[in-house]
């Protein structure tokens, strides 16, 4: 299916870029005419996915990159892909449990993946020792 528009970005997995990812999302969606709630939901999806990469992907090594892609097709379905090339998620099922977190240093709520599940129409998570790829879809038009 033909894409109406798309965005590809690569940036370091550092916390400053969580806001950058949300700004790019807003910039991509504003001309489309989404509602304020839709924009808030999608910014949240992006923020959760990017933050997961920033916090977890490279915790055992020097920070690498996050690749974010966004596309809107002619049926009005937005696809957002966030991937990293880090250590991967050990137990994906466990990671999906509300309030579960492997972070021991801060106060992570463990709600990132459950929020992604709640705010998207569908999502796929693939993770192994080469990294993690999250593909989220949401019908916005």
């Amino acid at each position: 299916m033909k894409k109406r528009n798309y965005l590809k970005a690569v940036f370091p997995a550092v916390s400053e870029n969580e806001a950058l990812a949300r700004l790019m999302t807003a910039g991509f969606l504003m001309p489309v005419g989404v509602t304020a709630q839709q924009l808030a939901d999608i910014k949240t999806l992006v923020s959760e996915a990017v933050t997961n990469a920033v916090v977890h992907a490279y915790r055992d090594r020097e920070a690498g990159e996050v690749k974010m892609e966004m596309s809107l097709n002619e049926k009005g379905i937005l696809t957002v892909t966030v991937r990293d090339f880090g250590c991967g998620i050990g137990d994906v099922e466990q990671a999906m449990e509300p309030f579960f977190t492997t972070d021991r240093e801060g106060e992570r709520s463990g709600m990132g993946l459950p929020i992604i599940q709640a705010f998207s129409d569908s999502f796929k998570l693939r993770s192994d020792a080469r990294g993690t790829k999250l593909v989220m879809k949401k019908k916005i038009l």
């Binding site: 916390s15 400053e16 969580e18 806001a19 949300r22 304020a36 709630q37 808030a40 939901d41 910014k43 949240t44 923020s47 959760e48 933050t51 920033v54 916090v55 509300p98 801060g106 106060e107 992570r108 709520s109 463990g110 709600m111 990132g112 459950p114 929020i115 709640a118």
Partner: protein, 103 residues
């Protein structure tokens, strides 16, 4: 926008401004915890009137402060979350743990 904190009459009020994400949360947490340790408030108000965006990191910040108030016996409320932030709070069931008021 910076977080604003004021203490009056035993109540510590924290005005969370702008985006409360993972990047912002750690410094805000340190600031609040320092004030709570110094002032020992009877009540903690987290004012979300000027919170433009919050994700699960903001939830972690709120839930962590709730844990602190449980340890000290202080009351805690959340004030004026936006529609988007309220959606997030309700998804996590925060309203079962912390009073949310709209003024």
């Amino acid at each position: 926008m910076k977080t604003e904190i004021r203490f009056e009459g035993g109540t510590l009020t924290v005005l969370l401004c702008g985006d409360i994400d993972h990047h912002a949360a750690s410094s805000i947490r340190r600031e609040i915890d320092r004030e709570m340790a110094e002032k020992m408030p009877r009540k903690l108000v987290m004012d979300l009137t000027k919170t433009d965006f919050m994700d699960s990191s903001g939830l972690g910040l709120i839930l962590g402060r709730k844990q602190k108030t449980l340890e000290t016996g202080a009351e805690m409320i959340l004030k004026n979350p936006s529609e988007a932030v309220t959606k997030l709070l309700r998804l996590a069931g925060v309203q079962k743990l912390i009073s949310i008021v709209y003024e």
